[in-house]
Symmetry: C2
Subunit: 350 residues, 2 copies
């Protein structure tokens, strides 16, 4: 009995198509010989599509994508400063629209320092933690506006919206994950200033913690958390935080673990009501696009998260191990995007 997984593939802009080609190669290698088969549908979305047709994400696109079992996304975004994209906001209109419409309430971002990877810290220690970033609320809801815009009397507001429903489900996910890891959850927020938005997180973490007596829980203000990320990143296991703080912490975490060329992410709807979406944390890097300079590792590690999410635990594990082995074997000689993808795929077929 074979299982067919309908996969929506959004290569996107810049280096997106290059890294996605390698990610798909590894995905196929991971399931080759098994009874699982990926059936990809390609979606042309991003700055390129916008410039061609004026569309960012149509209702028809969204409908078609949502009929898939999972989504693999490269990177979207045009050349910074391109005047034709001035009013586009591909990030909000495409990336965030997908996350919100498909109820990706868990934005899962593991950070691990792989042996052999050079990073900016002098004494990094063992780094292996996961940020569980809320994905559908907070300051990302788009609940803002301005009046007298562009005049000396302008007022521009932006409202962070947080609900018990939204916070509880992501906090529960974080505790369940911690139960399968080193059993520690750190809530990061700014409760001393954002009294209400922080308060709802603190109260719900306290309540859920009571159901998980084996899990150690602590709290850090976001400013202090950035200090620990560079002075003692080994103290973290699972971090749970809001959409904006999660965005900031995961870029910093990517940097301290050797660069966002390695940082993978999953935009997950754990309920399975909508397809989850897997993407490298890095952007489209148009300056190096088409030159085979991009590192596809982050996209390939996103494939591992995708496999894990689909319940293909062994396959996910094998991809991660192949990546770790490849990283350990990396010399200083640069390899092309394809060479890296080929090397990792070869380890899976071996």
């Amino acid at each position: 009995m074979s299982r067919v997984v309908k996969l929506a593939v959004i290569p996107g802009d810049g280096i997106g198509p290059e890294v996605i080609a390698e990610a798909e190669k590894v995905l196929d290698a991971a399931v080759s010989g098994s009874d699982v088969r990926f059936e990809p549908t390609r979606f042309s979305l991003g700055a390129g599509r916008f410039l061609e047709t004026g569309d960012t994400l149509t209702d028809a696109d969204l409908q078609a994508i949502s009929e898939h079992d999972a989504i693999l996304l490269g990177a979207v975004g045009g050349v910074p400063g391109d005047p034709r994209l001035k009013d586009a906001n591909i990030e909000r209109g495409l990336l965030l629209k997908l996350r919100f419409a498909l109820d990706h309430y868990v934005n899962l971002r593991p950070s691990k320092l792989y042996p052999g990877v050079p990073g900016p810290l002098a004494e990094p220690g063992d780094i292996d933690f996961v940020v569980v970033r809320e994905g559908t609320e907070g300051p990302y809801v788009g609940n803002g506006g301005s009046i007298r815009t562009g005049t000396p009397h302008e007022i521009a507001n932006e409202t962070s919206v947080n609900t018990a429903f939204g916070v509880e489900r992501v906090v529960r996910y974080a505790f369940d994950l911690a139960e399968r890891r080193r059993k520690k959850v750190t809530l990061v927020h700014k409760t001393n200033v954002l009294v209400h938005a922080g308060g709802i997180y603190q109260r719900i973490v306290d309540a859920v913690a009571a159901e998980h007596p084996e899990v150690a829980v602590d709290y850090l203000h976001v400013d202090a958390a950035t200090i620990f990320l560079v002075t003692n990143p080994g103290r973290f296991d699972v971090i749970v935080t809001d959409n904006l703080f999660g965005d900031i912490l995961t870029d910093l975490a990517g940097a301290v673990t050797g660069g966002i060329g390695l940082a993978a992410s999953g935009n997950i709807n754990p309920d399975g009501a909508f397809p989850s979406m897997f993407e490298p944390v890095h952007g489209s890097a148009p300056d190096i696009a088409g030159q085979q300079k991009a590192d596809p590792t982050a996209a390939i590690l996103s494939v591992s998260l995708l496999l894990d999410h689909l319940g293909l635990r062994d396959e996910a594990q094998r991809v991660t191990i192949a990546v770790e082995e490849d990283i350990a074997a990396r010399g200083s000689a640069p390899r092309t995007t394809t060479e890296i993808g080929d090397a990792i795929a070869a380890r899976l077929s071996a």
Copy 2:
């Protein structure tokens, strides 16, 4: 003709009194022999005062403080988790109340890696930048609330408020500062998500930049800015950003330049309508209070900012140089808080 400066001194909690004792010692040494004299009034404020009297900052306190020429603050905040402080929020009721009531719209935070200071980065390079953090708006305005609090139907909101008036004055300050430095301003925000709050900053930076053709201007999303702070902090000269992003970036900046034991700050009202307030970025660290373990350097560097703000440029410069010399001469043997203060004061009297 002698000048008397009325100084409000708020030693505060924890290590606050210890570091302030050294800061005052250095302040006096810096002006000894000149025609300037500091006349201190001590204010008992913080967790200690709250526990004694139930007051955080009374109208009478605020009135008395505002009649001074400048404020020197140590650190405020009780022992974390102290049940008697559960509903206190000394941060909002005291520290932020002072910043807002005294219209401290520039929160000035220099970051410099002094030769000889060990930091967490393997290859830090030359680090010397200043964060100009907006101090009276943004997500810090306290414009939030929750309904059905503590129930499964809770909604907790928090609104960032930004005005052209408030943004323009801090952006102008940043450009004026850049003119006297390496002539580069970096705006940090999250314009791709916080479209309105980010838009007002971007528009005003563009407008003010047009009046400063010699100043190079760039823009970074806050997540990318944290990456550069650990991979290439030397790229920054003056960063201008909102209240919350400034809070996050300056703690991280403190960490990469050797710890917040060295990070000074000024809460400045450049118009002079209200006294400005100078304080180390670090907190009250109750765990090491009264043990002579705290490093008073951040408080002493805050004194240098205070002197500079009062127009005592030479004295400010001399304090900075004395600190730099002391840091360069530091061995690995720990010194007490008083020993460090004495050593720096002695260099000024020499």
